[in-house]
């Protein structure tokens, strides 16, 4: 880091400042106008398709019973203690 010049600092700070000013447009609910353009710019290169592998990892099977105690009647786990 010791090598970065004052000019180098200022260039990087200007770039991040510009991105920072676009952020509210990117993170708004609006999808038209300037907000829509900002969103398209920010998302350039990112796939519009959902990540199927991630979605599969996030899914939980429907048939897994909850883990409950003997205090809850009709439990799949009641009487399951050894």
């Amino acid at each position: 880091m010791a090598q970065r010049s004052e000019f180098g600092h200022r260039v990087l700070e200007l770039k991040t400042s510009i991105m920072g000013r676009l952020a509210p447009k990117i993170l708004s609910r609006r999808t038209t106008g300037i907000d829509g353009v900002a969103k398209k710019m920010a998302m350039k290169g990112s796939s519009p398709e959902p990540d199927a592998a991630l979605i599969a990892e996030l899914a939980h099977p429907d048939d897994v019973p909850e883990i409950v105690t003997s205090r809850t009647p009709d439990s799949a786990e009641v009487g399951d203690h050894e």
Binding site: A2, K15, G20, E57, E66, T69, T72, E77, H81
Partner: protein, 745 residues
Amino acid sequence: MTMTNPAPSASETTTRTGYSVCTICDIGCQLRTTAENGVVTKVEQHDNPLLAKNICYKGTAAPQIHNHPERLRVPLKRVGERGADQWEEISYEQAITEIGERLQAVIDAHGPEAFAVSTSGWNTQTTHGLDRRFMNLVGSPNWTSGVSLCAGNTAAVSRLTYGWYTLPDFDNTNCFVLLGHNPRKHSWTPIFNQLEAARARGATSIVVDPRVSEQAEKATIHLQIKAGTDAALLLGWVKVILDEKLYDAKFVEQWCVGFEELKARADEYPLERVAEICGVEAGLIAQAARLYAEADGASIPWTPITDMQIDSTSSIRLQCILRAITGNLDVVGGERFHGLNPGYRTEAELQLHDEISPEQRAKQVGYHTHPAYTYRTAEILRPHMKRVWGHEWIDMVMGCHMANPSELFRAMADGDPYPVKAFFTLGNNSLMSYPNQHQILRAMLNQDLIVAHEIFMTPTAMLADYVMPGDVFTERSHLADSWAWTDRLTLNEAVAHAPEQASSSFRFWTDLAHEMGFGERFPWQSLEEVIDYRLEPSGVTFEEFAAEKYMDVPTPKYRKYRKTGFATPSGKVELSCSILGDLGFDPLPYHRPAPAPSDEFPYRVFSGVREDPFFQTGQRNIGVLRRRVPSPHFFVHPDDAVRDGLVEGEWAKLETAHGEVRMKVSIQDSMRPGHLRVPHGWWYPETRGEVDLAGAFVSSDAVLTVDTDDVLDFEQGIPHFKGYPGRISPCDAPEGMSAITLGTD
């Protein structure tokens, strides 16, 4: 009584989808949540592709968690012996009335300092500082939290060095250092995603870890140190950076004090000495130091590992010092001081810290003995915080004016230095969340009044007099501010109905204040009202905010110190810390050896480790999560397993001088020989009623550690969880374990 934030109508028949901030762990991912007829049914990725990857399988289990058949829905009052887990159901109004009367009786008998609170803001979320407000108005300074061992203490110690707490500029960093921290796809997910993106951009990484962790496998350099020797390693880095003049001389000259003293201290740690302490080759240590120092923008993200060591204060300060001397403070690609969001009042402002007298503040346990994160340092920093950040009291990551938990439980158990007789625990399984679990149990058994506010019955709640059902993130409005860790605000919309007798922590404290006669100091009738109050500086209401956006991120500003200086007594980065020096501690960082392994206890044990399906002590009762890790495992190196007769998947007993726990064995090539890794927070909710306190003493890592003064970090008074002596041997399975635990289901 004022009933605030009543549950929405149960007759509603709609489908509602909203933006959420997940609170199943502490990272706060932004999600989309759907409820049908007031019942949460689905959690999905955010619809903004930039945020969509920030989700894990704990978050998508929210429907199973929030609709669990054993979720607490009605206030409970103890009817048997404390801890017997026998209850009667009572109304919310009756509970508040009785709690108010009994708390007043404790205060009248023992003074307000006899009232203590332990909470986890990650879980409760919507307190808005009203717990401290309540305590300050009655006169008690004894608030503590798990953040005293994790992140909150990092914030407080960082302030001693440069008056704020940094966050890496992940989007622009070219090198990052992970000190034992191991963000994964399903743990600390947004951090994991940012690290992956940085690597994809070409950033280098250095991982310091006794284990070849997932992050270590991808690292440019992996330093497989002996557990608990981080401070020595970082002193070695400082030595290399100073000797080889890799530091930012201009920044050091203009903005740092104590450079010569630091240099003299670093000279006490030649690389040969550091290599011997850490068990890593000297050349590799030097190589790592150069890689960090020479990067054009480098960062050291927060790590829980150095928060829990015998020389934690030095370890944290060394990270601060490295950031400073390499010129990485508040620069692009380095680490930012985010500052406060100017449109949102801070929780500290609502907490009213000027309402409690200086005399009462000085009674805070830890104030005189281990003051680093107590009121004592916060008081010293007041004028400097005001000068730089505009407020005298700022509570970063909830951790900047806390009571010391070890001293608190000592006071509760033994009346030393004075009796603490009323203990409220909110969203916090306190029994298992701090060291010396046996002492905590003794402390809780010595109370006149315990109130637990939870969504499930926990071992801690089983010890309470009253158990109040809490709400969850799908059921309430919120604007999350990350407690000044960042300056962003994120939107959480209520989509589901809370149980009729459940309360947010906001509602609990508000109603208790009304019950005890100072309700006029709690003027907000709903969560939306208190958020509106906090949003006043922005000129918008919560409703207007929610209609416009789901996130507010102020434009970043860098190198702000050039206008304001740093919020320290000198106005500069204090490499030699004047506050610590004035309080009688070593103002310079040092390495302090932990208790060494012996013939009797030959291993270095590191505990407090997080597993993907769980957050702290939670979620062991959630079927879809528990089945991913049905039982706890010690990680052990193959050579050690052979020597000690340990068998993969079989049970073993880990003993320290202070306690023993049982878990299964996992033999891992990734472990450094002579080390044992212990996951955090295990109990067995399904054994409630059959095993004492639902197995809270079977596998909990808090049983293994003590918190006597000889093993506490001097400045903070936090315990050593990373490298303490232990031994392991094969054993039978504990009695009463369920089929899922035993693997026979």
